[in-house]
Subunit: 468 residues, 2 copies
Amino acid sequence: MTQTLSPEFLDALKDTLGPQGWSEDPDVLSEHAQAWRGVLQGETPIVAKPGSTEEAAALVKLCSQHGVAICPQGGNTGLVDAGVPHGEICVSMRRMNKVRSVDVFNNSMVVEAGAPLVTAQQAAEDVNRLFPLSLGSEGTATIGGLISTNAGGVAVLRYGMMRDLLLGMEVVLPSGEIWDGLSGLRKNNTGYDLKHLFAGAEGTLGLVTAATLKMFPKVQRATAWVTVESTQNVIALLAHVREMAGDTVTSFEMIPANAVDMVLADIEGTRDPLPSNLAWRVLMEVSFSDEAMARKTLETALETAFEKGLIQDAAIAESLAQAKAMWMVRETIPLSKRAYGNSLNQDISVPVSKIPAFMDTCNARIVDKLPTADFVIFGHVGDGNLHYSVIEAPGKTGLKENFNALTRIIYDTVMEFDGSISAEHGVGRLKRDELAKLRPQAATDTMRAIKKALDPKGIMNPNRVVSV
Amino acid sequence: MTQTLSPEFLDALKDTLGPQGWSEDPDVLSEHAQAWRGVLQGETPIVAKPGSTEEAAALVKLCSQHGVAICPQGGNTGLVDAGVPHGEICVSMRRMNKVRSVDVFNNSMVVEAGAPLVTAQQAAEDVNRLFPLSLGSEGTATIGGLISTNAGGVAVLRYGMMRDLLLGMEVVLPSGEIWDGLSGLRKNNTGYDLKHLFAGAEGTLGLVTAATLKMFPKVQRATAWVTVESTQNVIALLAHVREMAGDTVTSFEMIPANAVDMVLADIEGTRDPLPSNLAWRVLMEVSFSDEAMARKTLETALETAFEKGLIQDAAIAESLAQAKAMWMVRETIPLSKRAYGNSLNQDISVPVSKIPAFMDTCNARIVDKLPTADFVIFGHVGDGNLHYSVIEAPGKTGLKENFNALTRIIYDTVMEFDGSISAEHGVGRLKRDELAKLRPQAATDTMRAIKKALDPKGIMNPNRVVSV
C-alpha cells in the first residue's frame, strides 16, 4: 500500500532536492515501480533523485523525521524484488553517476552509487587497469545496486564477489548521518568492518552513495571450449586446471549439451564451437599479464587433462572474435530458455565437491514428481553456483501446476547438500520468508537485531532481507 | 579488577567443563593473564578450557545467566591488549585444535578455533593445496585469534587478509546460542554476511569456535632482492611489476638500508644479499603453478624495471636456501630493532600512492620535535602497510620523554594522509579510545549500536574495540 505523505513532507522533499530531484509524473512513477517489463509490479507516491551525498543525507533525515519509508533503487535489474518500491518513496540513485577520482598507484577509484558498471570498467581501462566484475546487465546495473546485492558474475573464481572488490564506502545511515568510509586502504583493522555489513544488505541498513573500488593489473585471456562426459569429470577438470594453472583460471562455466542445441536453434549468429555427443561443455578462461604465457598455460592444462581422460576434446579460441563467439553461446542461454517454453528458474549453490551428487538427486526427485520435466543446468561451477532450471517442452503440461511443489523439492535438496537457495541474486521480498525458515534461527535472530539497532524506525527498504 | 564469582557459578562452570576444562592454578592463571613476557599484565579468576563447541556454548550461556564477563583467548600473541583478561574469566580455546574435515574438490577445510596456524597450513599441504596466511607467530597464533584480529602477514597482496580466506564460521553468540555458519559455499547471498562481522571483532560479539577456510592451488615461488634509490621508485616498481606479472606478485616488502645494517650486526647467520649504497631494498616474490614460468616472469619484470631506471640492481634467489636467507633479513628486523635501543613502534597504513609523501612529512615532523630521532620503516608496502618505528641510538636520550608527543605526531599525520593507525594489529584496549576520537563519529556510533544489539549484557570481551 502506498504511503500517504503529508503536504509538509512533500514540500520539504521538493525544497531539499530542487526541481530536478523529484518526479510525480505517472509515467516516471510507473517506470520505477516495476521490473522485468511489468512482471514485478510495485507502487510509489514519488521518485526522489538526489544529486549529491548531501542531498541524499538531507532526504533520509527528512524521511526519518517524518517516518517515511524509502526504497533505494539503482539500475532496477535485480531479480528478488528488493529494489522495486511497494508503497515506499523510490530513491533513484541514477543522477549520482560520476567517477570521483582514480588513484593509479593505489589501484583504486571512487565511484558514485548510480554509475553503471560499465562506467567503472571504462574508468579502469582508461588508466590501463582492470575492474573485473562482469555480468550480463553491466550497462544498466549500478555500482550501488551491485554492492547492495553483492553481485557475482563470470569472474568470481579469480576476483571474488562485489564485496571483495571494495576498499571503502560512503553510506547515508538511516538517521540521515553520512558515514564517510571511502578510505582507499587495503589494511584497516580499526573496528567492525562496516562496509561488509552494508554490502549485500539490499539497502535495508543504509543508502550507499559511493564506494572505493579495487583496480587490478590488466590481463590477457586465453579461452577454451571443452567437451566433457560427466559432471564428475567437470569437477575433476576444475581441480586439475587449478592445479596446473593456479589462480590464473578466471572463468569456469559448465554448459549442458541441450542448452547449446537450444541456443543454436533460437539465437541468430551462434554456432557450436565443437560439436559432440557428450552431455557437457566447459567454457574456461585463463588470464595472465602475458598473452603467450596465458595460452601456453591453458594448452598445457588441457593436454594433461586429455591424457588423464578428463576431457574428450578442446577448442582454443584463435582470436578475440572466436572467444566472443564461445561466450555468446554461454550468455544467450537465459534468452533461449525463455523462448523454449515454461521454466522454473533457481539460482542456487552447493559446495563444489557436491555438485554431481546434488544434481543426480535433485533431478531424480523432480522427474519423480513430473515425469515430463527436462533440465537446463548451467553456471559458474567454479563457485559452486548453478542456474538450475526445470523446463518443459512446448505442448507438454504440468510445470505450472507443480511450480510450488517442484520449488520445494529444489529448496529441500539444496539444504540437504549444505547449499544456498540464493547464490548471487539475493533475498529481497521474494525469498525473505523462505530464508527465515531455512537459515539457522540464530542467524536470522542476529540479522533482526542488527536491523533493529541500525534502523530503529524501520524506514530503510522495509520488509526486504528480514522482517522485524 | 577481577570479578567476584559466586560459588554457584563456579560449581556450575566446573560441572559443565569437567576436570580438564578449567584451572585455578596460580601459575596457569598467571600464564594466561599476561602477554609479551609480562609487559602486558592482566588478571583472571579462572581459566576455562572448553573441549567442544557444545561445552563452549554451555559455558557462555552460564556466563550470560550470571552476568559474568568473558575474555576469549587463542595463542595470546596479539599486540593490542585484546586477548589478555582484565578481571574477566579467561576462555582459552587451545583445547579445540582439530582439523574437522578437508574437502579437496571444494578447496576448503573446517578447522577449530584453537588450532595454531601451522596446523591449517599443514592440513592444506597434506592434500597438495595451499593455505596462504603466513606470519611470524604462525606456530602459536590460533585460527580463532587470527580471525578475531583479521590477521595480515606477508601474502596479503595476493591472497588478502584472514577475513578474505573464510568461507564459513561457527560462533557461540553472547546468549550461548550456537550459530552454525560453517557452510563451504563460495556464493551465498542470503542476508547480512555475519562472518564478516565476527571477523575482526576481537571476540566482542561472540566466541568463534571453528571456521571453514579456503584452500588454494599450490604455487612455486621466485624470489628477488632489489636495490632501489627512493620510496617514489619503490612505489613505481610495485606498479610496474604488477603490470608485468599481474597478481602472481605475492609479496612486496620494503626494507630500509639501515635495517639491513642492524640485522647484519645483530643477527648471527645473516648476510646482505646485495650490498649497495642506496637507501632502500625490496624483497619480492612472484608465485605461479610452474616454477620456470614464475622465474621467467620475475626476470622479465626486473629487466624492464632496470631499463626504466626503477631499480639499480637485483639478485634472484637460485635456491630455496637463498630465498630463505633473503627472508631471514626481512623477518629479523623486529628482533634486531629491539636489540638496538629504544623504539616507538606503530603499525599504520596509508593509500599506497601516498607512502612517499607521508614518510617525508611524518619523518620531518618527528625530527623537528626530536632532532636525534632515527627511523626504521619497513613493511608490506603492497598493502600500504608500514611498520613505522622511531628509534634512538644507544646513548641518545629524548625518545621516552617524548613518547606521547611523537605518537600524537604519527597519528595525526597518518589521518592527514587518509590512513589508519591500526593496519593489521587491531584495536583491543590499547587503541580503543584513540580510535573513538579518530574514527568518523557515525562509524563509532554504528559499532556501538551493533555491540549493544548483539551483546546486550556486555559479557563478551568488554571494553575492547568500542566502549559502550
